[in-house]
Every structure is written in structure tokens, then in C-alpha cells.
Amino acid sequence: MTTILSVSGVTKTYEGGHQALKGVNLDIDEGEILALLGPNGAGKTTLISIICGIATATSGTITVAGFDHARDYRAARNLIGLVPQEINLEPFETVMNSVRFSRGLFGKPRDDARIEEILKLLSLHDKKDDRIMTLSGGMKRRVLIAKALCHDPKILFLDEPTAGVDVELRKDMWEIVAQLKKTGVTVILTTHYIEEAEAMADRIGVISNGEILLVEEKDALIKRLGQKELLIELDTPVDTVPEALSGYPLTVSDAGGLIYSYDAQAGSTGITGLLSDLREAGLHLADLSTRQSSLEDIFVDLVKEDAA
């Protein structure tokens, strides 16, 4: 895989002294979908704004396909498309004019056929002559994507693409991203919906307090950090963890059963010992099941650790 975007030691301190980014390092491979996951105020939008040229970094370097984003800003920005978090659109313009304007800004000659192709991809074609103010929120968000795609960028930034969007449209958005991936576009999206990262991303980066805590393959991340839980249902429900089992990390479930947390990747899970000790304690099993922790649990754990 070739690295298409490289962020190295980027810091950002605002005038008031608030340090939004504390030395971010991040390499993005060509053609991948990376989800940048983080709570509000983690520095996601600041990082994207700096890469796209909307804000300036206090220190650090960024290269886009080998071009320094400050020195060779024209070459670097030509490769980038940005879909901002807020719906920032000129309300009185038509969809077509607005997209034409964006294409022009990126130095591309007028090409209505190409724009119409993009509008079709985004199911916007029948709205092309409508004024933006008459469109629904979801349609406006599509216009933003069309504007970001109209100069055929290699990298697309989607800043919270589905914030405040209904379920159906969110699924559509995921579909659009999947299609873009097929065309070879690298997608970097920020989100605080874990479900979204899980559904779309190849890799996941977790950012909190201006620092990237980790960047990993999505599946590996879930596997590596994935805690499993063994749910033990008992014939006779209990209120507290029996004395004889106090050595195990057990909690009582709502139904009066026991929950045993263990690391599925560890050499010994301790399940065999637990089950025999359960029998010795005179408890009879009604049922057993396991549960894999979701990305959300992992995320909450990571951010909690970082805050601690």
C-alpha cells in the first residue's frame, strides 16, 4: 500500500492557549477508509481543517501524495475534497451552479456532463435546477458531497457525515462511501457513532484530547482489545456473588445470573476452573452464552484510560 497522506508531529495551539492537537502522527494508505473516532472536542475537526488548509498548524508537517501541504499547496489541495460538518451552502443558488462554482475553484474547466454524473451517483440529478434553500437537510448534505467530489479528488474527508441524519439516509451515506471506495477514492471520516466506523471503515483511529491513541485495522482492533463476557444463567437466581467464587471477576446480572469477564486472547481464560468451582459451590447451570464487546465498549475504555 502506498501512503497518500502523511501527518507528522502536527500540533495546534489556539490563541487563547488551548492546545487542540498535541503532536499528531498519522499515515493514510491509498484507497482505504479510515474512521477517526473521538468524543466531542477531541480534535477531529481541527485536524481535518489543518490538512485541508482551513486552519494553520502550530508545528508539524503534512504531505499529500508527496506534496508538502503548505509549500505545494496547489498540488496538495487539488487531491483533496472536503465535506464539512455544518451544512454550509449558498441558499439562493441552484444545485448545478453551486457545484460548478466548486469545480471552478479547483481550477477545473467547466464540465457539466461530469457534474451530472456525480449528481446521479448521489441521487441528486432531478434536483439539479432546484435552489438549495428548497432542499431537505439530507439532500443538502448530498450537495456538499457533490461539491467535494466535483474536482475528482483522490482523498475525501467526511467530517461527521451523518450527524443529525435519519437512519435511512445514514445507510445511503454508507452505500455512497462504499461506492467511492470502489472508484479508488481514499476516505477519511470522523464520527462519534461507533456503529458508523464499524460499518464503513477498514481502519479505525481513536483520537482523544488532541492525541491519536491508536490506529488499527478494524477487525484486529476488535479482536485485540475485545473483552468477552460469559453469561451464566442459574437454576436458582442469586443476589450476590457466592463467597466460594469471590476469587473470580464476577458480577450479578439483572436476571440473577453471573457475568464472567475474560480476555479471549489470553493464554488461559479461566473458564474451566470457574465452571468446576461453580459445581463445587452447589450452583446449577441453566444456560451459558458469550458476548463479544463491541467497538463502543473498546472506545469507551480507551477514552476513559486516556482521561485517567
Binding site: C52, I54, R74, N88, E90, P91, F101, R103, G104, L105
Partner: protein
Amino acid sequence: MNWNAIAAIYRFEMARTFRTLVQSVISPVLSTSLYFIVFGAAIGSRIDQVEGVSYGAFIVPGLIMLTVLTQSTSNASFGIYFPKFIGTVYELLSAPISFFEIVIGYVGAAATKAFMIGIIILITAHFFVDLTIAHPVWMMLFLILTCISFALLGFIIGIWAGNFEQLQLVPMLVITPLVFLGGSFYSISMLPPVWQTITLFNPVVYLISGFRWAFFGQADVALGWSIAAIILFMSACLITIGWIFRSGYKLRA
């Protein structure tokens, strides 16, 4: 040069002008016609000639300047303030476009619109007064330079303004008084000697004087001063804009 980007900004801004034709073009023409009716025909008929020119004709350059200065400033300030206000400025900042190209696009469109209105007023004036232009080339040059200079000023105001009130503040409180007191409706020689001296600190005096010279071949101040003043003013605006983009003032966090 990213010519396509300049053209995109220019076209986008001009489209706004044509979309709001009544507000953009017809209203300045109407207000100027009212000036002609009130100052030129009603009051002017009771005033003798000023420096050998009928009063109605004498006020034409001043009236054009009044509208052109206000229009170029407000067009350019609105042009760049509006994207800031609605948030679409992110597109300008993230596009492969230099500050110089952004300025050409916005200032070019604002100046074009002001120039068009200036010419329309000139044509309108012909319906009210007899007018011959002594130095048409100089007249055009003054008009174009004025449109560009004040569009540059407007651009600075648009970047600086934090709300719509501030956007109106400079045109209303600074430019309009300076134009009215800059000899739009009178010759400076008509003022008492003290005010003649004070007036010389008003930069608009030099613009109107130079412009009037292009019309009638006579001026309140020497032509050289008028040209120097407009070049000085334009340079000051360009330096300020250069600084704004280097520092990212009110644009880049």
C-alpha cells in the same frame, strides 16, 4: 495562475448581481435620478454656473463618484462577508487558489458592477443635462481606478466585519460623509478659506476633483495630486490585503 478559479468567483458574484437586478442596478439609478431632479432641476435652476459649467452638469461627476464609491465598497464587502457569514468560506480556504486570485475574483466582480452602474448613471445624466466630456480616456481611467480601489477597501471591510452592522458601518459613517464633504455638489473654492484647507485632508476630494477635471477640464486640486492620491489609496489597500492573507486575519484559525 488558477484562471478557472478566478472566473468561477467572478461569474458567481456577477450572477448574484443579475439575480438581484432591481436592488443592484435599478435602485442606484432611481436615487441618482432623484438627485438630478432635486439638486439639478429644482435647486440647480436657481444657482448660477459653477466655474463656467451649469450646476446640473457640474454635479454629474460628483453624483457618479457618490454611487460608485458606495457601490464598489458595499459590493466587495458583502461579496466576501456573505461566505464568511454562511460558512461557505471553507471552500475558498481549502481550494488550490492563492489570496491574489481570490482578491481578483471578488474585487473584479465588485468593481465591474460599480463600473456598470457608473456608466448607467452617466447615460441617465444625459437625459437631464447637456454633457460633453473633455477627456473621455481619463474619465474612464479615473472611474476604473476608483472602482477597483474602493472595491479593495470593501474587501477589507468584509474580512474585518464580524456582523452585518459592522458591514454597514464604514460605508455609512465614513464614505458617505467623505463624499458629500468632498465636493460632490460644490466646488471647494466656494468654501470659506479655513474649510478649504481642512477639506484637503479628505482623500475623496482628490478623486472627485480629478474626475471632474476629466469632464470639464478644470479641477479643485492639481491633476497630479489626484492621480497620486488614488495610487496611494490603492497601494494602502493592497498592502493591507496582503497582510490579511499572510496572517490569516479573521479567516484562518
